[in-house]
Amino acid sequence: MATRRKTKMTFSTLTSRYSLLIGLGALILFFTAMRPDIFPTLANAGSIMSDNAVLTLVALGIMVPLIVGQFDLSPGFVASLAVMMTAGFLSEYQMHPLLVLVIILTVGAAIGATMGVLVGYLQLNSLIVSLGVGSVVAGLVLLYSGGQIIFKGIPKDFVAIGQTRLFDFVPMPFIYAIVICTIMWFVLTQRPAGRRLYAVGANPEAATLIGINVPRSILIAFVISSMMASLAGFIQVSRLGAGHPTSAQAFLLPAFAAAFLGATSFRPGFYNVWGTFVAVYLVGTGTTGLFMLGAESYVQPMFNGVVLVIAVVAARLGVIRRNRAEVAAARRRIPEPSGPSELQST
């Protein structure tokens, strides 16, 4: 697995492994060619970075349950709860942002732990558990917010957390996303704990047999997912300067799309951090670029859909091409008249 470095890479393996990155590059070139005046600017790059950073966090979060073979459908709701709690606590109780962060991460962890216990220890279906718990959380959001937007009394320096740009260019949320990607990459590929998660996802029975605590791994995965969703909600508020009760629910499908897309690249066949990251920015860049070209709104979902399908087809074609090559090599052993073999009958 991480032992790939040594494998000799053919050109086609490389292109298939980095197809997403190539796609992102192609997209950037395309939009640059189309709108050289406005697309390839620092400001535009900065806003694409900023606009997709929160989604990146949610996508990284759901990736962890996916790695252990479980689905978490709740992060949109959990992030919404975090949004409302963050905005509410900051404005109503003038809490210190750090305290708020601690509280919402704790709440996130508790929600994740609930799902984790139900899925990991009681062995319930994760789709239904996360849908159920997510639904309850959605109710909590309504209960707490009454559907109202919280916009007053969110301190300026809190908003700065989300809106400052380093060197007038790199937005802070992007930096948070990069930092978290790096940590997650490190843990998932360079630490035993991360490797065990992959083992659980690949074969829970075998994982149990080699002494991995499968229920606990699942619990941890859900806790991470919910905590990431909470963090995403927190940053969302600092980016927007207000708390919208539904603002984070829209993340669900794009987050899954990014994780699935990501699994076609970098380490094909495995959910992986950089694949997910590039996938988010691939789709994000496409959206911005298309609207810059003046596309109608129906173009965006179509583009997203086509990207998804092309990415999996491309990954698959890579495999098919490799197999073909193997078959061709095997064919070369067959002596000349390899055609209809009527040479010999018993």
Partner: protein
């Protein structure tokens, strides 16, 4: 000190007229006494939206005054659930049903059953669309929208370059808010040099699409000087633009005047104007009309006012109005209590 073209002047006149808070009562002068104990079902398109939740609250408030039981059903933004709520209300034998931002044609099954059962049915925010005999109490959407269009034309001297973010889910946004604004913006008499880029979006994507379209469209056409959509959309657009460092030369025009948007206007954060309607007043008017329908009388027009707010007159609103919405510059509550002969 403005040097305005004739067209812009004409637009200015329309806008200014809507900015003054000169409200007269033009509603009914009598009302039948409410019969205590009536049960009213209020079906809200979506309680998660302030624009619908606010009138729902006022209907409960008015109902309490009238000695009625008012139950609010949340349609959760989903016509299927709205229809289900409507059916449940019919089956539960309510004495009257009010729809808030629920388009009657979209729930025609429940509407038909309510009409069959002779239950008084009335809408808020559905215009007078089909079927014609279902009354609507809300203000004149087109008139109000013309005010917004005129304001835009005026403020950019007849040279509007607008991104119109048109929501497609509700009949009134399309045929009221959008139509009215476009009536002015496409009229050479007010706006000879106006250029509108119309982009559709739907409520399902409220939190993502308008903002994404706006950020990109603005970069694509830096000459854009206006962005137009109703307030819930506007605040998301504004906040995203600010987060991505855009929009310093842009103006925003919205509808509803939610507290958040009034704050944006006051603080000079992109949004320049909003069009308010006194939704609490509309709620009272709706209850008054239901009362009439219960008595077998015809509904009446309550002459609901509207008003535009920008940085120049936003300070005329009270703190309470900034939180709860414009109250119509008139003590309508006392007036209705008087009409109904109740106090509380």
């Amino acid at each position: 000190g403005e040097n305005l073209s004739a067209e812009a002047e004409a637009a200015k006149a329309i806008a200014l007229e809507q900015m003054s808070g000169n409200v007269q009562w033009s509603g009914p002068e009598t009302s039948p006494a409410p019969i205590p104990g009536k049960r009213i079902a209020v079906i809200s398109c979506c309680q998660a939206a302030e624009g619908a939740a606010r009138p729902a609250r006022s209907m409960e408030e008015a109902g309490a005054l009238m000695g009625w039981e008012v139950d609010v059903f949340d349609g959760a933004g989903d016509p299927v659930q709205q229809n289900q709520a409507l059916n449940a209300a019919v089956d539960a034998g309510y004495d009257g049903i009010a729809l808030i931002f629920v388009d009657t044609p979209v729930v025609s099954d429940g509407v038909a059953r309510a009409l069959d059962a002779n239950i008084p049915l009335i809408t808020l925010g559905s215009l007078h669309n089909t079927p014609a005999h279902i009354p609507d109490v809300s203000h004149d959407w087109i008139h109000q929208a013309k005010g917004i269009g005129a304001y835009m034309a005026w403020k950019s001297g007849g040279e509007v370059n607008a991104l119109m973010l048109k929501n497609t889910d509700l009949y009134i946004t399309e045929n009221g808010q959008f139509k009215g604004a476009m009536d002015i913006l496409t009229d050479p008499a007010f706006c000879p040099d106006c250029d509108m880029d119309v982009k559709d979006w739907s409520l399902a994507n409220l939190d993502t699409q308008p903002a994404a379209i706006a950020t990109a469209a603005l970069k694509a056409d830096p000459a854009t000087n206006w962005v137009w959509c109703f307030d819930a959309c506007m605040s998301r657009v504004v906040r995203t633009l600010i987060a991505s460092g855009q929009g310093s030369t842009l103006m925003g025009a919205g509808y509803d005047c939610h507290g958040e948007n009034l704050g944006l206007i006051r603080d000079g954060m992109i949004q320049a104007v909003c069009a308010a309607d006194p939704r609490d007043w509309e709620a009272y008017a709706l209850m008054d009309n239901i009362n009439r329908m219960i008595h077998g009388q015809d509904v009446v027009d309550h002459g609901i006012p509207t008003r535009l707010f920008d940085a120049s007159n936003v300070h005329e609103l009270t703190e309470h109005e900034i939180d709860e919405g414009w109250q119509g510059d008139y003590d309508f509550r006392s007036k209705y209590k008087e009409l109904w002969g109740v106090d509380g």
